[in-house]
Symmetry: C2
Subunit: 237 residues, 2 copies
DNA sequence: GAACGTAGGTGTATGCCGTACACTCTGTCA
DNA sequence: TGACAGAGTGTACGGCATACACCTACGTTC
């Protein structure tokens, strides 16, 4: 038999492969996606991995560090800006990619920019974005403006969407209507414009993709003129 | 002596006025402002009010409902759009007011749009905003676009600011530099553009007010042309 | 001014959370 | 074969939100 332990032959299907840090992080992301951040505890994650809670601490220092590792995985899903297509398309692509990642992992909103040191993927991403803008001729100041406003919009939109998100637009409208109905007829008089929106949205539906794009394009067009004024004004980099 | 109980005369200074829901909510806001959302527990709040934890449950149903009540107080601090000054100034004023409230109460970011039913102040605010835009001639669709993009930007900017916020810009730059220094010389080669920003910001400082205004004005100018195209295009309300 | 009902406040206890510490087990290499 | 290291375990602790039963003080009513 040599070095092969008996157990391996006796119960081959039962054996759970050994954990490692990466497996823990990936399972963490999956659990948080499914159960939400509230349902995500060291205990539930351990159970998912068919392991006792304390086993996780062999691979991560504590829950905070685990979350940071998970956030890093989310950042890794974001594509960096592709300078080859010009700054506008590059910024647009990155914003959409970041937004999509945040929609896939809503629990990460508020954690990505949150406490603790930014992870390596986050640093890499931000460096790439700054580099793309600087090389496209943006002044230092304008580059900071652009990154600030673009990221703010993406985070904020994802934040709104996270809370308003239901499976279908109809469901969303229903929920809103229910809220208003709670105070019933009185509400109709008090919040007429809100009711109009709920009603219209219920009929026409609401498309997050399209809505996100409207604001994003407004910002990008605005950036274009910002850029022009800075270059034209002789205040270039 | 009449109906006055003896105790009142014996220890007049010792007596704590009876709690009520409003006092609990206000104390909650104050505690969350000072201790952050992590330091905010039913126990610490009860201690602050010199009361046993369970006493709070006579005034709020549970912690979730307590937080919703606190968020409602924050919404009440936001000034509604002042239509008299035109839609642009009205929207600008409201955005700044909302942002300021979120900076005063960082814990509220992510809670304002979060789970649970929106509170009465939130409904009132959103109704007022919609009303201002509709009465200014915006089409239904455009009104939704505008509110969506403006709020997203405000929330997102507040979210970023919350995590980057240090007492001084110098401190902020220091912290960022420390992060990069952790991996030291290697980092310099890996994140050159990031280092440039950290360095420049350390010298020139960073003004959140001004930075917020740049993005906000880009959005508002963009809205103006959005509005024009919709009205001009015959697709008005 | 005495009795009483009720709302405000208390004490105790439960179950979940993160995680410290000391252990056992298992696979690897000498 | 024996020893070592690193993976996984068991037990335990303090802090959390909060259920439930209790007590107390106050305004009301006669």
């Amino acid at each position: 038999m040599g070095q092969v332990p008996k157990a391996r032959l006796q119960e081959p299907a039962e054996r759970r492969p050994r954990l490692n840090r990466d497996a823990v992080l990936r399972a963490g992301v999956e659990l948080a996606d499914q159960a939400g951040i509230d349902g995500f505890t060291m205990r539930t994650l351990a159970e998912e991995l068919r392991v006792v809670p304390m086993a996780l601490y062999k691979h991560v220092a504590n829950k905070q560090e685990l979350l940071e590792g998970m956030v890093n995985l989310v950042w890794a899903e974001v594509t960096e800006p592709d300078s080859a297509r010009g700054w506008k398309q590059a910024m647009r692509g990155r914003a959409v990619s970041l937004w999509a990642a945040l929609v896939r992992h809503p629990w990460a909103v508020g954690l990505m920019e949150a406490a603790g040191r930014p992870g390596p993927e986050s640093l890499h991403q931000h460096n790439a974005m700054l580099g793309c803008l600087r090389q496209s001729g943006f002044s230092f100041r304008t580059t900071v403006h652009v990154m600030s406003m673009l990221d703010a919009y993406v985070y904020g939109f994802a934040l709104q969407q996270k809370t308003l998100s239901f499976e279908t637009p109809e469901e969303s409208a229903e929920a809103a209507a229910a809220t208003l109905d709670a105070e019933s007829a009185e509400a109709a008089a008090r919040y007429p414009y809100l009711l109009e929106v709920v009603g219209e949205l219920a009929k026409e539906g609401y498309n997050y993709d399209a809505e996100f794009a409207v604001g994003l394009d407004v910002l990008l067009d605005g950036v274009e003129s910002l850029r022009g004024s800075w270059r034209g004004g002789g205040a270039g980099d």
